[in-house]
Amino acid sequence: MIQKKICLMGSFAVGKTSLVRRFVENMFSDKYLTTLGVKISKKIVNIQLEDVTILIWDIGGEDLFPQTKLTYLRGMSGYLLVVDKTRASTLEIVIDIQKKVRGTFPDVPYILLENKTDLTGQWDIEDSTIEKLRHEGWDIMKTSAKTGLGVEEAFTCLAAKMLKKTIT
């Protein structure tokens, strides 16, 4: 069985934790996010008939990504960046985080998740901004923790990207 470590990052209250809660094996309570700054859960996905165990390091949401949090990223094979589709500021923060992370982990695959897509009337992030990022090479998927839309796909997609990296 292959194991991989991934990190889950994004601004405050974008729904990172709710995104994973329903779809992963949980052991630790959310209080670790405020105390340790990280909470770990586990998800098993199936890629090409092979089970991959993903250890998910949910890095507590903050608007500034302090240097100390970078230590938690050590050894990760991929990461997910989560934004709140109803708050455009969360995207700017995530772009900033990605710049910082890319400096230390240039070749690590990642996916941007637009969360809270179920709140269709309140979308605040422009499609054009998303398209621009896509052109720059970003992989972007829509998700909703409430309805479950896109969550399984997001993990499976990231796992596939990580395995491709290992094979090459």
Partner: protein, 336 residues
């Protein structure tokens, strides 16, 4: 006659001329090649162009190069030390300092623990019995005390890849409620990072000990891995030494596999017996009664043979005493 020999000569000349005409470029090539083969400088230059690649290729096929170079390297090392011992000493200094400090700290800890126990039991009834046992078996008194008093059990062992926090191998004692080893190991790594970051420790400092009520968590750090032991009770220093040995063996034998670890823990299946052995050495009996459990270290194993011999002596001594006493009684009876 002359004509014939002249013809022959001219045949030879003609042949030579023909050869030169046909093979002039090849002849000059051959003489150039001969020159290259005979000139050591040119040969050395050509070899120097390919020698690095050749060595790399050879090392990927087999170990013969290492074996072939061994005598040469031995001579080189010897010469280096002879010529400039200071250079070697300076190079080794950072490692030696650390190793010595660690060794001294461990020895002191071991000594203090041993002294504490010895003082506690030196003058009790048990102490006297154990002193007899110590003389009989040849084991140090302190060790006998440890064997009889420490009650502990290694419940779980984790071998964790430091960088990713992923589990390379895990073993647990029977009837232990094992929570998800993957998540526990990852969280543990996070805690280590957290402590290091928040409390600005020195570069070489590492988390070694966690205590919570009855639980003791011991952490052995290797260059690439952690060995984490979850222990219930009061563990002896010998257990710490055993954990160190296990970790050192694993880092040595599996060093390359660990360096290349990308999530596949299959190469580390073979580590499980070592971890299982460590746990089984400290099992309680099934009755669940809190009886002292024995812990065997290598030194105890070596002394076991001596043990058997001593028993024979005691029996012989006992029989002799009995004979003397009986003889004495008969003697005095006869006297009467």
């Amino acid at each position: 006659m002359e004509n014939i020999s002249v013809n022959k000569m001219s045949d030879k000349d003609e042949l030579a001329n023909l050869r030169t005409l046909m093979l002039a470029p090849e002849q000059s090539e051959i003489s150039e090649l001969k020159q290259r083969l005979n000139d050591p400088r040119i040969r050395a230059e050509e070899l120097s162009r390919v020698i690095a690649e050749a060595i790399v290729m050879r090392t990927t096929t087999d170990q013969k190069l290492a074996t072939a170079l061994l005598p040469t390297i031995e001579i080189v090392l010897r010469d280096v030390v002879k010529k400039d011992p200071k250079f070697l000493a300076e190079t080794m200094f950072p490692i030696i300092g650390l190793a010595i400090r660690k060794a001294i700290a461990e020895a002191l800890r071991s000594m203090v623990q041993s002294m504490n126990r010895t003082l506690e039991y030196a003058f009790s009834w048990h102490g006297i019995l154990w002193r007899i046992e110590s003389i009989r078996t040849g084991k140090p008194f302190a060790e006998i005390i440890l064997l009889h008093t420490l009650i502990y059990r290694v419940e779980q062992l984790f071998l964790i890849h430091k960088e990713t926090g992923l589990v390379l191998q895990h073993a647990a004692a029977d009837s232990i409620d094992v929570k998800d080893a993957d998540m526990v190991a990852a969280m543990f790594t996070a805690i280590q990072d957290f402590v290091n970051d928040s409390f600005s420790t020195k570069e070489d400092a590492s988390l070694q000990n966690l205590n919570l009520g009855e639980l003791t968590v011991w952490i052995e750090q290797g260059p690439q891995t952690l060995l984490v032991a979850v222990i219930r009770g009061i563990p002896p220093q010998e257990l710490r030494n055993m954990l160190q040995e296990i970790l050192e063996n694993i880092e040595f034998e599996y060093g390359l596999a660990i360096a290349n670890f990308e999530g596949n823990a299959a190469p580390f299946e073979a580590c499980k017996p070592d971890l299982q052995y460590c746990i089984s050495q400290s099992q309680q009996t099934d009755s669940g009664a809190r009886i002292p459990v024995k812990f065997s270290t290598k030194s105890i194993k070596q002394n076991t043979k001596k043990n058997d011999g001593s028993w024979v002596f005691i029996i012989i001594a006992g029989v002799l005493c009995l004979i003397i006493i009986i003889a004495g009684i008969i003697f005095s009876a006869v006297r009467w």
